[in-house]
């Protein structure tokens, strides 16, 4: 404690993170630090090498080979797999499907989870009850939700709930999941994800709302800001900047990796097939085409990383103060 510049306290190292090394000072205390380091970190690092690094490298290698039903191919094809994938109509249209999905799901999730958070946060009574209700669907899997949506709510026959309700108004049954024009299938696909994930993002927003200092609202009140929209626009929303960025990025990354609800609601069909369902089909279907599958997975990974970086750039990740 006598040399604060060289030996930051534990509290410092929390706030400033990894900038410095807070371990200097106890170096003499314990013998065999290196050994102990590896006892603690070694098993994890070993597993990471085998199950994270090795797969990626192996996949990179496979993407340059013709690899049908084998993980140890011999026929080198150079960039052929990549060119095939980038000119593959099905792969490109799966990226298109994703784009439409993201256009629906990202803004809707953002707005609705923020609205839920604001509603729950302003309630004076039974707040925990409301929070639990909206958070509860997080306990359900995509498989479970897809089952409910497919067999009960959006079942194409009369006993489906949606069609029952339409029936009260004299409207004919709609085959929700197989009607291509108009593309009704988006309604179940989008609402199922909304139901499952809104509560999760609502929790993030509530945490963000509770970090906002009440003095800011008092100041706004004193300055004559109109309660409601003005306060929301000039105090709440800017203060939620860090949370908003996190919600948008997490949500978009998750949407890119949509698989479960598409697979379980409509299966591997060409009119609404996101990238992962397509890649699953070609690499683990009847023919295991691991060369094209690997190339496609790597292309997708690169796209996700670029979009994530761009998004954080645009929204100024890190600039946002707490």
């Amino acid at each position: 404690m006598s040399a604060p510049t060289k030996t930051p306290s534990a509290a410092d190292s929390v706030t400033t993170g990894e900038r410095r090394r807070p371990r200097r000072r106890r170096q003499k205390g314990i013998a065999g630090n290196t050994l102990w380091f590896w006892v603690f970190v070694g098993p994890f690092v070993l597993g990471l090498l085998i199950f994270s690094y090795l797969p990626i490298i192996w996949s990179l290698v496979l993407s340059f080979f013709e690899a049908y039903n084998t993980a140890t191919p011999s026929k080198f094809v150079g960039l052929r797999n990549y060119i095939d994938m980038l000119t593959d109509h099905n792969f490109l249209s799966s990226l298109g499907t994703f784009t439409i999905f993201a256009v629906f799901i990202v803004p809707l999730t953002f707005v609705l989870s923020l609205v839920l958070a604001l509603l729950v946060n302003q309630v004076k009574i039974a707040r925990a009850f409301f929070r639990s209700v909206f958070f509860l669907p997080t306990a359900c899997s995509y498989v479970v939700a897809s089952l409910i949506w497919r067999l009960s709510i959006f079942n194409g026959v009369r006993f489906g709930l949606a069609n029952t309700v339409l029936g009260w108004f004299g409207i004919d049954n709609i085959a929700w999941l197989s009607t291509v024009s108009p593309p009704w299938y988006w309604l179940p696909l989008v609402t199922v994800r909304l139901w499952l994930q809104l509560g999760f993002y609502m929790i993030l927003f509530i945490a963000g709302l509770q970090r906002i200092s009440p003095t800011l609202y008092e100041a706004a009140y004193v300055d004559g800001a109109k309660p409601g929209w003005q306060v929301f626009r000039y105090i709440t929303l800017p203060q939620l900047r860090a949370t908003s960025v996190a919600v948008l990025i997490l949500n978009l990354i998750a949407a890119y990796q949509a698989f479960d609800e598409f697979y379980n609601l409509i299966g591997n069909v060409n009119y609404a097939r996101p990238p992962l369902v397509y890649l699953y089909g070609i690499s683990l279907g009847s023919i295991q085409d691991l060369g094209h599958g690997s190339a496609g997975a790597l292309i997708l990974a690169v796209i996700i990383m670029i979009v994530t970086l761009l998004q954080s750039r645009i929204f100024g990740f890190g600039k946002a103060g707490d």
Partner: protein
């Protein structure tokens, strides 16, 4: 910093006043809340209604709010169905959930502690190598991971379901950040008493970090229980299906028994509803801790 000011001001307005306009807004907000609650609970109602109905009740042309009588025998029917190995699938899910969670927390917490507290020349490089894996979108790696796991001969096995999921860079990262903030004084005291890193970690650090562990455990367990893509890829044989894969196979079966399927749904969400009932506090902590990397 602003704490002292806050006590002087009126205890007031987080957004809205009690004017007439405010009252109208208040009513509208309650209506919105009420509608949202109904919509969010609707699927749970459907689970219960369909799980306890006969097939005839469900497919009747007129919607019945409640089944004509509670058909509890659907449970027996579900477990007797030889097409879908429900008991086996539940067992697999339980093993994957428990061992997967325990293993992931053990490995990640030890790695996080080592990175946070044990001086080592290359610790920074190792840390960056771990953080780098966070850049790779998880689901995209299912093809590469399948290649490795099938080469190990682990397809259709519990090993294949569990072991590849144990090494979460994100969990190690969270634990490291958490342990950096752990009060050193507690550790120093134990060290003076002659404890080494191992003793300090297990006797001081872990017992004093149980809420953090509980939060991550709740989140990880739910994630494992509900995960679908990896179990689908690995579970090529019905003996290694998890409950999610079993239910998914159910949908694509030739004849669908809706009542049976919904009973399966009800059974499958029971453990998670219990976690929600008793551990929700930790769960919400877990979401806030892992959702936003501070």
């Amino acid at each position: 910093m602003a704490v002292s000011e806050r006590t002087t001001g009126t205890p007031q307005p987080i957004g809205f006043t009690q004017s007439t306009l405010g009252r109208v807004g208040m009513v509208l907000r309650w209506i919105a809340l009420f509608i949202a609650v109904v919509l969010f609970l609707l699927p749970f109602y459907l689970i219960l209604r369909n799980a306890l109905s006969t097939e005839a009740d469900i497919t009747a042309p007129n919607w019945t709010l409640f089944p004509s009588h509670l058909q509890w025998s659907n449970i027996k029917e579900l477990f007797d169905d030889t097409q879908v190995p429900m008991a086996r699938a539940l067992y697999n899910s339980a093993v994957v959930g428990v061992l997967g969670t325990a293993g992931q927390l053990l490995l990640a917490s030890m790695a996080g502690y080592g990175l946070a507290r044990i001086p080592y020349r290359h610790a920074d490089k190792i840390f960056y190598a771990i953080v780098a894996t966070l850049m790779i979108p998880g689901a995209v790696t299912f093809i590469p991971s399948f290649i490795v796991v099938s080469s190990l001969g682990w397809v259709s096995s519990l090993r294949g379901l569990i072991i590849p999921t144990l090494f979460s860079g994100f969990a190690a990262f969270l634990f490291r950040q958490y342990f950096l903030g752990f009060p050193r004084e507690l550790e120093e005291a134990a060290r003076v008493d002659g404890a080494g890193y191992f003793g300090v970690f297990w006797r001081i650090v872990v017992p004093n970090s149980l809420p953090f562990f509980a939060a991550l455990a709740a989140i990880t367990f739910i994630g494992n229980w509900n995960s679908f893509l990896w179990p689908l890829v690995i579970g090529q044989d019905s003996s290694s299906w998890t409950i999610q894969v079993a239910m998914s196979t159910f949908i694509t079966a030739q004849t669908i028994n809706i009542h049976e399927l919904f009973m399966a749904v009800a059974v499958s969400i029971l453990p998670l509803v219990l976690i929600f009932a008793f551990l929700q506090r930790y769960l919400i902590q877990g979401v806030t801790q892992s959702g936003i990397k501070d």
